[in-house]
């Protein structure tokens, strides 16, 4: 794995296989914990595999390296996705990953920088991660560092007002090392986003806030890699990738199903999920 180099040197096929392994980890983790959020973890995992596989400049032996790229998972309930990736990177052991949500586990219910090597933000309450990312990005600028700050938001999450304060601030301060990925899976806790509070044309809204935006299929690894490259090379101001995704992607009965936002698979559902993820 890369020592302070960008990405892990993986091609599209290898990235797809990493995403598949992570999906297996996600369903196993949530099944073992009998709780957690598989839906939004599965929708985001192709994006995260592409991000860590091709972009993140980190040190696999030193998760605290001060000049590392930062990844801020603002929708912190998608913690299984983050833990599965950090297991791939080598920060989290299999045993620790499978202790998800247990008392004293390094894998807390929502991602927490105080508990887990490789986690850069303590999430849990929606709407806060982009602001935190702005702080990290401004600090990098003051340090004359070229480190990037990547932030993932959920589409339901952007109903929070603080996110729009942050969208405005990122443009005002011309923060070119800030890269946002919006996991547009169209489902939130209670139901579909369009039934709870439709967020509408996210691309146009962000463009009107001064952001450069690209819209992609968040499950096409070719598109994902290309969009991440574009975002990395764009440094004149903040950029966003609006990734259209399917909640629960990869497990048929979880796909586009609001019931699996925050429900773990039971024994039979796990068996079926693992069969589909072979």
């Amino acid at each position: 794995m890369g020592m302070r180099t960008r990405g892990m040197g993986l091609d599209v096929e290898a990235l797809q296989d990493m995403a598949r392994r992570c999906r297996v980890s996600i369903v196993k983790m949530t099944h073992a914990a009998k709780s957690g959020h598989p839906g939004g973890s599965l929708s985001s995992i192709d994006l995260l595999s592409g991000l860590y596989g091709t972009q993140m400049r980190i040190d696999s032996d030193d998760s605290d390296w001060s000049d590392r790229d930062r990844f801020i998972m603002s929708k912190g309930h998608a913690s299984p996705a983050v833990y599965s990736i950090l297991h791939e990177v080598g920060y989290i052991s299999l045993e620790d990953m499978m202790s998800f949500r247990e008392l004293g586990s390094v894998c807390q219910g929502h991602v927490d920088m105080k508990w887990t090597d490789g986690v850069d933000f303590s999430a849990g309450s929606l709407g806060m991660g982009l602001s935190f990312g702005i702080g990290c990005a401004l600090a990098a600028r003051m340090d004359n560092s070229d480190r990037n700050v990547w932030v993932m938001l959920g589409d339901g999450e952007i109903q929070e007002g603080e996110v729009w304060e942050a969208f405005m601030a990122a443009d005002f301060h011309s923060i070119g090392n800030l890269k946002v990925i919006i996991d547009r899976n169209r489902i939130q806790n209670d139901d579909f986003v369009h039934l709870q509070m439709e967020v509408g044309d996210v691309v146009s809204k962000l463009e009107s806030f001064g952001w450069d935006v690209i819209e992609i299929d968040g499950h096409s690894m070719v598109d994902v890699v290309r969009a991440l490259d574009w975002a990395n090379s764009h440094d004149s101001g903040p950029v966003a990738i609006v990734a259209n995704t399917v909640k629960g992607k990869g497990v048929s009965f979880m796909e586009d199903n609001p019931a699996f936002h925050g429900k773990a698979p039971d024994d039979e559902e796990l068996r079926q999920a693992l069969e589909e993820l072979k």
């Binding site: 001060s66 920088m113 602001s131 702005i134 702080g135 601030a169």
Partner: protein, 315 residues
């Protein structure tokens, strides 16, 4: 700029303290359109590259500060006390929970704020920040102590909330005595044996006036500037109880959860001593001059004298 800016308002001390910290390149300042009021404007004028205007958007400001703290900076974020409360959950979850050293300053706290009216008169800020694990809560009494305690925050490895006052009050300290202050240690500024008045903020001066009035009646009062509400200097409270046998607290803040609440929590679970609280009696203020408001809200030296008599009578 609407307020008197020279001399003894504690917010002026905060502004001067920031300037003294500027030699450390890690220090950064965040504002939410109230730099002229909180007095961070002086730092901004001198060090624009380390000053960040976050607009009228306090929730974002607190988490931007947290991100900076996680990246090696020492952020000082200020706005009115009441507007920091809008971002309470951000401070709780985004700053204190991950133990990030962000220093928050809320100016214009308390009834003393005056004519702006009740919407601006935060009377609950000290209480709510006191409930957050690991948070230091400071409320200085004059400009010199605000400056000194702000400077000490540079080496304070915990998130903090400092409340400052809008309006000038007489100085409690001089350039020499103020250097003896330490975060977390109350300052015994007058020694007496019959009753101990524990005060913070603008009520420290009222307490000294009250001690003078009590003296004329033959009552000897100690006065403590309890500028740090958390961690509370319980050793000093023990000494005060031993010396005087009864206590009065005085604060421009609700009697629920502030200095009075903190002292009550401590003595109720350790040792018994009469305690009377002078503070805002669970009600909102209104527009008016500072002294008019302090009068009708029961926050004067005379109110402290009356409380001292009640406390002494319960010994």
């Amino acid at each position: 700029m609407s307020a008197p800016s020279s001399g003894g308002a504690s917010r002026d001390g905060y502004g001067k303290g920031l300037l003294r910290l500027a030699s450390d390149p890690r220090v950064v300042v965040l504002e939410a359109d109230l730099g002229k009021s909180t007095k961070s404007c002086h730092f901004r004028a001198e060090y624009p590259s380390r000053s960040f205007s976050m607009g009228i958007a306090e929730q974002n400001m607190m988490l931007v500060a947290a991100g900076m703290a996680a990246s090696g900076k020492i952020p000082f974020a200020s706005t009115f006390a009441i507007f920091t409360e809008r971002a309470f959950e951000q401070v709780r979850n985004g700053v204190a929970r991950p133990e990030l050293t962000v220093h928050i300053c809320g100016s214009h706290g308390g009834i003393h704020t005056g004519t702006d009216g009740s919407s601006a008169q935060s009377i609950e800020d000290l209480a709510i920040y006191r409930t957050i694990p690991g948070m230091t809560v400071i409320h200085p009494s004059d400009d010199l102590s605000a400056e000194e305690l702000t400077v000490q925050l540079l080496d304070h490895k915990a998130p903090s909330y400092m409340r400052t006052a809008r309006n000038k009050t007489p100085r409690i300290y001089n350039e020499s005595s103020v250097t003896e202050l330490r975060i977390g240690k109350g300052a015994l500024i007058k020694e007496g044996n019959d009753v101990c008045i524990l005060a913070c903020g603008v009520m420290v001066n009222e307490s000294l006036v009250a001690a003078g009035l009590l003296s004329e009646e033959g009552v000897s009062a100690s006065v403590v500037d309890m500028h740090t509400l958390k961690p509370l200097d319980t050793t000093l409270i023990d000494d005060c109880i031993t010396r005087c046998g009864c206590l009065v607290t005085a604060e421009d803040h609700s009697v629920i959860g502030g200095l009075g609440g903190a002292v009550a929590e401590y003595i109720a679970t350790t040792r018994s001593a009469p305690l009377e609280m002078v503070g805002v009696a669970d009600k909102f203020g209104q527009s008016g001059g500072s002294s008019e408001l302090m009068n009708i809200m029961g926050l004067t030296a005379n109110d402290i004298v009356a409380a001292a008599h009640r406390s002494i009578s319960r010994k």
